[in-house]
Symmetry: C2
Subunit: 334 residues, 2 copies
């Protein structure tokens, strides 16, 4: 296949980074992974990512002019407008790193978009994954934390100060369990990976959950969300009960989102993908109970579709194909 | 003042209607109110509104060609796309009334926009009231029900099936009091006008609230939200306590909206306007408790500013000044 124009995606995570080349259609052309040693200066890592990108272009016989745009996906907080990374919790040395300016220095004249990873993954799922073809989609990350990205009327909605989509920190239970954010009863405190583990550990009474403890190597304190999901998939009733409870909380949170935003689709990542209908079933049941029928019936609830490619595609998805709108409008190409 | 172009607003409510003429700047030119007898055929009432509009134009020496556009504000449900009113609860005879087609027949060549009253009032507050000048605003009705209209990134957001903004039906208390919608623990069941009255009535124990009972004519069952607000304004501690409790619920609901949408402003109508800081104070306190500081600090919480003119201006606000966008984009003119 002859490659014409390409997009460069830079994914920056707490343990690994990657430079990826892709076509405007979302086909991967090449990829260079790099470890993110959090003790190394960010400038060194950025220089390596730039060298990797140049190497990818050269390996495919592409001149720098073939680069249609660059997308950078990174954990927040960051400033989308100025393209500066603002000290993400998992990257303490990345304090006010002007990633856009650094990349524009390396690739003069190429447009660079910088976005937090939840928004970027929302765009990727919307452009190439489970959100394809709809105008209003809510993407929900479900892992260590619960976050989200909002595609509303065909564009990414960031909010007044870039903090939209924090639906993991709506209050589900007044005076509920303490959340990592300092508030109580947040959805994240009830349905994230650590919340699933804690709920399983707290539910071990009267001899319940022995197979789960064995799966965790004999120590209840070592039970993780992964153990719960795996046990549930293997038919363990205790683990399935935990997922049913968690799905109930998630369903209340999604019902609230449905009442407020009336989206066409909600796409759930990570844990929901691994657990499948064992979690999506209880989620859909709770949505049916806590949202209006006419709003809930307008909204499909689906697992994310991009799997392992999500992070690479998230960075690539930031490269807009229709320029000119400004104001963060990032429309579908076709 | 010489009048050039004008806009026609048609406000259709359960007890009264109005035809109003206004300038593109939101200045009222003239107004004809009409009672809405719910037993009369809608076609008759529409014909009277058309005659009233023609009379207003003639009275100001304006030809029909001076009409820049027509906006119709009505209680939902309605179909914005086709311009059809779909049997609002307070207008049982208005079943599938093609209001846009009827008005276009009367005023050929004039564009007609039909919108539910919460969305229309949101637009009016954004264009001429408390939301002026911001890009993302949530308008919250606070009366018999709790509803909302969302202005996101400078345009009205309606959702996938026109049901966005139903923030009164997010769940605040799981297994809380029954809501008129059939769900339990909705914000509307905890902070609407009827909820305020019920909360006051339910709190009358140990001789509390005697002044409030007197204000209601001696019967506890006759206490309304208006009595509670008036007593609170007069310094009654019991009534103030009721508003503080209600403000707490409303604050949780608004905190959720802030976490999800990160708006620049939230504008509260009716009861919040009447009660002022007696309600807005507790609301702001609860928002500070239940939303992130960095999201809450980005959002002003204000009473609506249009007062008695809100319904007329709501209809007028639907007339867009920048045509051509399509897809419901209704942008500010300047």
């Amino acid at each position: 296949m002859a490659i014409g124009e390409v997009m460069l995606g830079i994914d920056i995570g707490g343990t690994k980074c990657a430079a990826v080349l892709g076509t405007p259609g979302g086909e991967m052309v090449g990829r260079v992974p790099l470890p993110t040693d959090p003790r190394r200066p960010p400038a060194e890592i950025v220089a390596e990512l730039v060298a990797a990108a140049r190497g990818l272009l050269a390996a495919h016989g592409l001149p720098p002019a073939a680069l249609r745009g660059i997308g950078v996906s990174c954990g927040g907080p960051l400033d989308h407008e100025s393209g500066v990374i603002l000290r993400p919790p998992n990257l303490p040395l990345w304090d006010a790193v002007p990633i856009r300016a650094l990349l524009q220095e390396a690739f003069p004249g190429v447009q660079v978009e910088v976005e937090n990873d939840a928004n970027a993954t929302a765009l990727a799922e919307w452009r190439w994954g489970a959100g394809r073809g709809c105008r209003s989609m809510v993407f929900v990350t479900m892992g260590t934390g619960i976050g989200g990205g909002l595609i509303l009327d065909g564009r990414l909605y960031r909010g007044a100060s870039g903090l939209a989509g924090e639906l993991g920190h709506q209050t589900i239970l007044v005076n509920g369990p303490l959340c990592g954010c300092g508030k109580k009863g947040c959805l994240e405190a009830l349905a994230s990976g650590p919340a699933i583990a804690r709920l399983a550990q707290d539910s071990l009474q009267y001899g319940r959950g022995r197979p789960l403890i064995q799966r965790a190597g004999g120590r209840a304190a070592d039970i993780t969300a992964r153990h719960v999901v795996e046990a549930a998939r293997d038919g363990d009733a205790f683990a399935r009960g935990i997922l049913a409870e968690v799905g109930g909380y998630m369903g209340i949170g999604l019902a609230n989102v449905i009442q407020i935003l009336n989206p066409e689709r909600i796409v759930l990542g990570t844990i929901a993908v691994h657990a499948g209908d064992l979690l999506l079933g209880p989620i859909r049941d709770a949505v049916a109970e806590f949202a209006w029928e006419r709003s809930a019936s307008a909204c499909q609830i689906l697992p994310a579709a991009l799997g392992d490619r999500a992070q690479d595609l998230a960075a690539l998805s930031l490269v807009s194909l229709n320029r000119g709108g400004g104001g963060g409008a990032l429309e579908h190409s076709g």
